[in-house]
């Protein structure tokens, strides 16, 4: 190796090449599962069950998708979109209001409430799922899509994230609005809301993706097959016909592609939002 030629950023050329090679190898490793899902979904029965590696579908077929849609796959897709979208809307709405109050209002019980919220965020959701299920029965919404949506909205991460964003609003602007005689709601919608919009965008994507992928809650709450979501249905199909990998990959592709597309399209807001949530975490 060459003697260390240190530039201003402090890395030698040898190290940079080494790092680049490792990064590319790792990137391939991380891309592989998704590649394998997508290509696998187009392989025919012979290639799926081949005893040698088939790196690419040589005789691509949509047969796997045809068999997938013999099941109510559109309904499953609709269910998961509906759950994720409703959870997203309700979470953004309630969290924006609450986050603003926590960040900017000096009210009695603020410190206690904030402490409870932080503690609840560390609690594993799965621990409370048994009482949660009974609550759903009590409210007569057990085994409906709402049984997944409502607990998701209750999760306090959104409030925490919106508080972080609302704290960046200068107090002077709020004062000015008050002096101008704007009421509380008017202040919120005409002053606060436009300023925390990027935060709401981040929270929206974050909630959508996380709800889509919250397998545990779907598994426990949705028991009849017309209420299944696509991820839940794939998991259940895998249990029933564990060797029909073509069908399962078609399902996995159908569940993964929309959410990956959403993620790539809104990547900027998403990464911003995650980073923001951690600033004072």
């Amino acid at each position: 190796m060459k003697a260390k030629t240190t530039d201003l950023s402090g890395s030698s050329t040898g190290y940079k090449v080494f790092a680049a090679v490792i990064l590319i190898l790792l990137a391939l490793f991380f891309l592989f599962p998704l590649y394998w899902i997508v290509t696998g979904s187009f392989k025919d029965v012979i290639e799926i069950n081949a005893k040698y590696p088939v790196w690419f579908p040589m005789s691509p077929t949509v047969d796997n998708y045809a068999r997938l849609f013999e099941n109510p796959a559109f309904k499953w897709l609709f269910n998961i979109v509906f759950i994720s979208a409703m959870a997203m809307i309700l979470t953004c709405l309630t969290a924006a209001l609450a986050g603003y109050a926590l960040a900017k209002k000096r009210f009695i019980g603020r410190a206690v409430l904030f402490t409870i919220i932080i503690c609840a965020m560390a609690l594993p959701k799965q621990v409370i799922v048994i009482p949660l299920l009974q609550e759903m029965t009590f409210l007569h919404i057990n085994n409906t899509l709402w049984a997944v949506i409502l607990p998701t909205v209750g999760w306090p991460f959104g409030v925490f994230l919106m508080k972080q964003f609302a704290e960046t609003i200068p107090n002077e602007i709020l004062e000015a609005a008050r002096v101008d005689g704007a009421g509380e709601l008017k202040t919120f919608f005409s002053v606060v809301f436009p300023m925390i919009k990027p935060g709401i965008g981040a929270l929206a994507i974050f909630t959508f993706v996380n709800t889509w992928n919250d397998y545990f809650l779907q598994l426990v709450m949705l028991t009849s097959d017309d209420n299944w979501t696509l991820p839940l249905a794939i998991a259940n199909l895998q249990g029933e016909m564990s060797s029909d990998f073509g069908l399962i990959m078609a399902g996995a592709a159908l569940a993964a592609i929309p959410i990956v597309a959403v993620f790539i399209a809104f990547q900027k807001y998403f990464t911003q939002g995650i980073a923001m949530g951690a600033v004072k975490g």
Binding site: W36, A98, Y100, F107, V159, A256
Partner: protein, 311 residues
């Protein structure tokens, strides 16, 4: 954890906060602020209290009862907790959970920090590309990722055995290898978020300090440990805590790949909660395990705060 976080907003305006959060406010103003604040909070609080706080208390209550298929049969006192300490499956689950956390958390943290250090100074396009690639398994979803790994690891049709020439070997059916594949897959779905966080944090490190140190002849390692490391400490702490919580909660992987087997070699506390509740229908006991799991997570988080803070 709570204390640090609650104290954080105070840093913004130390003068006001040092006396009292309400200093300079009349009683009438405080009352008005409180009323309007709760109006803003009410929609969120309804969901939070109904679907998080109340179930939390019910969960603790049930953990002291004998609760099977027919409903609560009676008060059990500490029986469920005593049973827990004598339950060999819980012991196995506890050890496996600790193993997963102790292996996955430092690996994920160190690895994501290395990747972030390597990519954060790159041009925006390759940086976004790498960040995106490492986040992809998170977005793809635990179910899709798990089912494709099941295929990759399949004894006869799986690509791993075909490439490695170990046809017929059942990685997930082997007591020694199963848990390591669970950890590997958990790892691939865990590093996305820490990388996003570290890239942001490293980008915010005060550049003038780094340049000053380099002018003084500091090596790359010195710059890292003396300047960058302290400044990204809050991020490290956050990464440790979220990765710990994630590792404790790893569920889909185990439910879809091994169901805790073979011979409980991949049993975790989390999976035992589910298994006890939904297969064995012993709800009182499942709630007790859940309560203990929550306490263990709290202890782990507290230890991390202590260790990192005193460093």
């Amino acid at each position: 954890m709570a204390q640090t976080s609650a104290a954080a907003p105070a840093q913004g305006k130390p003068k006001k906060q040092k006396q009292s959060p309400y200093s300079g406010m009349s009683k009438a103003l405080i009352r008005r602020e409180t009323i309007s604040a709760y109006c803003f909070l009410i929609p969120s609080l309804i969901f939070f209290v109904t679907f998080v706080v109340v179930p939390m208390f019910i969960c603790v209550f049930y953990s002291f009862t004998e609760y099977g298929l027919g409903g609560v049969k009676g008060f059990a006192g500490l029986e469920n907790y005593v049973k827990l300490f004598q339950d060999p499956i819980f012991h196995k689950g506890f050890l496996n959970t600790v193993l997963i956390v102790v292996v996955a958390v430092p690996t994920v943290t160190a690895f994501s920090l290395w990747v972030s250090s390597a990519i954060y100074k790159m041009h925006a396009i390759p940086r976004s590309f790498f960040r995106c690639v490492f986040y992809l398994p998170v977005v793809t979803g635990s179910v899709a990722i798990t089912v494709v790994w099941k295929w990759i690891l399949d004894p006869y049709n799986g690509i791993l055995n075909q490439v490695a020439g170990t046809s017929g070997f059942d990685w997930l059916g082997n007591q020694k290898t199963a848990i390591w594949f669970i950890i590997l897959i958990l790892f691939t779905t865990s590093i996305g978020q820490p990388i996003v966080l570290y890239v942001a944090a490293l980008g915010n490190v005060d550049q003038s300090l780094i340049e000053a140190a380099q002018v003084d002849g500091a090596t790359k390692l010195q710059v890292f440990w003396k300047i960058k490391w302290p400044q990204i400490m809050p991020t490290t702490l956050y990464v440790l805590v979220i990765t710990t919580i994630n590792s404790f909660q790893c569920f889909a992987l185990i439910q879809l790949l091994t169901k805790g087997g073979p011979m409980n070699s991949t049993m975790t506390i989390m999976y035992q909660v589910y298994d006890t509740a939904y297969r064995l229908n012993d709800l009182g006991y499942a709630n007790a395990i859940g309560v203990i799991l929550a306490i263990i997570i709290a202890i782990f988080s507290a230890i991390q705060f202590k260790v990192v803070k005193t460093d």
